[in-house]
C-alpha cells in the first residue's frame, strides 16, 4: 500500500484571532499544530501500512514552517514527507488547495489511498479531502468512523452519519476523511523522533507540479472570503412555569404578539 496522509498545519484553536480589516486569520505569534483530525488520518494510514506493508507519505501544503508537522508525522511513523510550498500557492481556497494536493498525489504516482481528517479546525470547511478526490476523479468516503477492511483493491468503511452508520465499499485508489472515532493516535517513538530530526523533506513548488498560476493560490481560488465576523451573542430566553393550560396560553399570546401575560 502506498498511502498519502494529507495534513494541515493550523493555528492552535485556543489562540486564534481574526484580522478585522482583511477578514483572515492572524497566524503570526500563534502556536501552530497539526490539525487534530489529521492526527487520526495519519494514524489510520500508519495502521494499514503496519498491517499490509507499504509506506505512508505525509503531505502538506503551506509556508516553509509547515515542515514542522511533517517532522512530527515522521516521528509518529510516516516513512517520508513532502512539502508543497510556493508563493504562488498563497491565499488558496479549498478548490485551489485540493487541486494542488491532487497534483502532488498524481506526481507521486501509484498512490492507493489518500487519508485526510474530516475537516481542519481553522476553516472548518471539510471540503479539501473531497476536493482532492474530485480533482483526481477518485471515489471518496467522508466521515469515516471506522475502516473495516482494506485490501489492495478495495476498502470497506463505516460512515458515522446523523441517521446512523453507513457501510460503504469502495474500490481503490480512493480518498477517505476520518473522524476522531476512527482510532487512538499513537505516541511518537524515539527512533521516529531521531529520524524526524535529520530526515530530508523535499519541497515541491508550482513548476514541480506542472500547474499554472491560474490554478493555484489566490488566483486559482473561485471563492473569496468577503467578511468574517463574530456572531452576536443571543440574548437568553425566557423561562415560564405553570400548568400546561397556563403555558399554552402564554405561548399562544407570545406567538400572536399579544401582551396578555
Amino acid at each position: 500500500m502506498r498511502i498519502v496522509a494529507a495534513l494541515k498545519q493550523v493555528p492552535d484553536a485556543s489562540e486564534v484571532r481574526i484580522d478585522p480589516e482583511r477578514g483572515t486569520l492572524i497566524r503570526d505569534g500563534v502556536p501552530a499544530i497539526m490539525n487534530p483530525f489529521d492526527a487520526y488520518a495519519l494514524e489510520e494510514g500508519l495502521r494499514w501500512r503496519d498491517a499490509l506493508g507499504g509506506e505512508v507519505i505525509a503531505l502538506t501544503m503551506g509556508p516553509p514552517q509547515a515542515e514542522a508537522i511533517l517532522r512530527e508525522a515522521i516521528s509518529l511513523g510516516a516513512d517520508s514527507a513532502l512539502l508543497l510550498s510556493d508563493r504562488a500557492f498563497a491565499g488558496a481556497d479549498t478548490w485551489a488547495t485540493s487541486t494542488t494536493l491532487a497534483a502532488a498525489v498524481r506526481k507521486l504516482g501509484n498512490v492507493d489511498l489518500v487519508v485526510a481528517g474530516k475537516q481542519a479546525i481553522d476553516g472548518d470547511t471539510a471540503q479539501t479531502g473531497p476536493g482532492i478526490a474530485a480533482s483526481l476523479d477518485w471515489p471518496q468516503v467522508t466521515f469515516v468512523g471506522r475502516v473495516v477492511e482494506m485490501t489492495s483493491g478495495k476498502l470497506v468503511a463505516e460512515r458515522f452519519v446523523e441517521a446512523g452508520v453507513e457501510v460503504v465499499e469502495c474500490p481503490l485508489p480512493a480518498v477517505i476523511t476520518v473522524l476522531k472515532d476512527a482510532n487512538v493516535p499513537r505516541m511518537p517513538s524515539l527512533r521516529g523522533k531521531m529520524k524526524a530530526r535529520t530526515a530530508g523533506i523535499p519541497c515541491w513548488g508550482l513548476a514541480d507540479l506542472g500547474l499554472s498560476e491560474k490554478e493555484t493560490g489566490l488566483e486559482g481560488s473561485p471563492t473569496r472570503v468577503v467578511r468574517i465576523a463574530t456572531p452576536e451573542t443571543r440574548a437568553g430566553g425566557e423561562i415560564h412555569r405553570g400548568s400546561p393550560e397556563e403555558l399554552a396560553s402564554i405561548l399562544a399570546d407570545l406567538l400572536l404578539g399579544g401582551a396578555g401575560r
Binding site: M187, P188, L190, R191, M194, R197
Partner: protein, 387 residues
C-alpha cells in the same frame, strides 16, 4: 540549569514527559490504590522505543547510555515513581547480561528486552540476605547439562511480570561470596514459581514478588560469565544501576517541588497567597537548590560512566545517597507546604512521600552506600600515602 543535553536525550525527555502526561498521570492514583501493575503503560513505553535506550545497537537497542536512561527514569518518576521503577527495573535485570553476558546470551536475550516484548528482573536479595548480600543461600548444583537451583529470592521488582530473570545463586557455598554465580532464568522454567505479591508502602504500581526455586533446572548455557563470578557480576550491576535510582529520586523530588510551587501560588491564608510568606519561600528555595544539586551530581556520574570510566562505585553511591535523601526531605517538605491537604490521598504529594522512601532503601540502603563511599575514600587515601 542547562546541562547541555544532546538532541537525542532532549528527545527522550520530551517523549517521556508526553507519555507521562497522557498515559500515566490520569491513572497513577488508581495504580497506587489498586496495587495494579501498569502493563498498558509498559506497552506504550515499548512502542516508543524506551526499552531500547540502554541496549547496544547490535542487539536492537539505541545504545544511548547511562545519562539517557537517567533522564528517562527521572521524567517518568516526576509523575509516578511506581511506573518508573517498573521501567528502570528492566535495565537492572538486563545489566548482568549487558555487562558480563556472552555474545550468544546477548543475541538470545537482549533483542526481546530492547523491543519491550519481554520484561527483565534482577534477583539477589533473600529473606536472610539483604544488605549482607554475601549471605545468600540459594544453591545451584551442576547436574549434566543444567544447574539445579533451590532457594527463595525476596522482594523482586517485576517478579511474576518479567520473562527474563538474572539470579545470583551459590555454586560453591564453602567459598562464600566467591562461590556465587549468576544465571539467566526464564519464566516458565521447570521448578520456578512465584510467591505472593507484596503490599507495599509506596511504588505500589510496581510488582514485587518472591521467586521460588524448587529443583529448578537452568541450562548450563544460561550461566553468566563463569562459576564464582556471581558476586562480581552483581556488584558491577549495582554500580551501574545506582545512577538510575538517583535519577528516580531526582524525578520524585522535582515532581513534589512542582506540586508545592503550584499549590503555594493558589492557596490563600491571612488574605494572601502563601508563597508570599518568607516561611514558604525559603522552604521552596531550599527544595529547589537540593533538587538541582542532586540532579547535577547524578548527571555527572552518568556522564562519567558514559565516558568509559572503569571505577565509579564511590561516585555512583554518592549520587544515590544524596538524591534519595533529597527526595525524602523534599517530598516531606512538599507535604508540609500543602498542610492538611498534603496528608490527604486526594493530593499527589502524599503518594510522592511514600514513594520517595524506597529510594533510600533499595539497590543498597543508604547506610551501605555510605560504607561503599567510606571504603573507597580510605582506599584512595592509603594508596596516596604509599606514593
Amino acid at each position: 540549569m542547562d546541562y547541555r543535553l544532546s538532541e537525542d536525550i532532549l528527545a527522550i525527555r520530551e517523549l517521556c514527559s508526553d507519555i507521562a502526561a497522557r498515559h500515566i498521570r490520569p491513572i497513577r492514583e488508581e495504580l497506587d490504590r489498586e496495587n495494579r501493575f501498569p502493563a498498558e503503560v509498559m506497552k506504550v513505553l515499548a512502542d516508543s522505543d524506551l526499552f531500547r535506550i540502554y541496549i547496544p545497537e547490535a542487539y536492537g537497542g539505541l545504545g544511548l547510555g547511562s545519562l539517557a536512561l537517567c533522564v528517562a527514569a527521572e521524567e517518568l518518576s516526576k509523575v509516578c515513581a511506581g511506573v518508573a521503577t517498573t521501567y528502570a527495573a528492566n535495565a537492572l535485570g538486563a545489566m548482568p547480561i549487558l555487562l558480563s553476558g556472552s555474545e550468544e546470551q546477548k543475541s538470545r536475550f537482549l533483542p526481546g528486552l530492547a523491543s519491550g516484548s519481554n520484561l527483565a528482573a534482577f534477583a539477589l536479595t533473600e529473606p536472610d540476605a539483604g544488605s549482607d548480600a554475601g549471605g545468600i543461600r540459594t544453591r545451584a548444583i551442576l547436574d549434566g547439562d543444567s544447574y539445579v537451583l533451590n532457594g527463595t529470592k525476596q522482594w523482586i521488582t517485576n517478579g511474576g511480570e518479567a520473562k527474563v530473570y538474572t539470579v545470583i545463586a551459590l555454586t560453591d557455598p564453602d567459598r562464600g561470596a566467591r562461590g556465587a554465580s549468576a544465571f539467566i532464568v526464564e519464566d516458565g522454567a521447570p521448578g520456578f514459581s512465584y510467591g505472593k505479591k507484596e503490599d507495599k508502602m509506596g511504588i505500589r504500581a510496581s510488582a514485587t514478588r518472591e521467586l521460588v526455586f524448587e529443583d529448578c533446572r537452568v541450562p548450563v548455557a544460561n550461566l553468566i560469565a563463569r562459576e564464582g563470578m556471581g558476586f562480581m557480576v552483581a556488584m558491577r550491576t549495582l554500580d551501574n544501576s545506582r545512577p538510575g535510582v538517583a535519577a528516580q529520586a531526582v524525578g520524585i523530588a522535582q515532581g513534589a517541588l512542582d506540586e508545592a510551587l503550584a499549590y503555594a501560588s493558589q492557596r490563600r491564608q491571612f488574605g494572601q497567597r502563601i508563597d508570599s510568606f518568607q516561611a514558604i519561600q525559603f522552604m521552596l528555595a531550599d527544595m529547589a537548590t537540593q533538587v538541582e544539586a542532586a540532579r547535577a551530581l547524578t548527571y555527572s556520574v552518568a556522564r562519567m560512566i558514559d565516558s568509559g570510566a572503569k571505577r565509579f562505585e564511590k561516585e555512583a553511591a554518592m549520587a544515590k545517597v544524596f538524591a534519595s535523601d533529597t527526595a525524602m526531605r523534599v517530598t516531606t517538605d512538599a507535604v508540609q507546604i500543602f498542610g492538611g491537604y498534603g496528608y490527604m490521598k486526594e493530593y499527589p504529594v502524599e503518594k510522592m512521600m511514600r514513594d520517595a522512601k524506597i529510594t533510600q532503601i533499595y539497590e543498597g540502603t543508604n547506610q551501605i552506600q555510605r560504607g561503599v563511599i567510606a571504603s573507597a575514600l580510605i582506599r584512595e587515601s592509603a594508596s596516596k600515602d604509599r606514593k
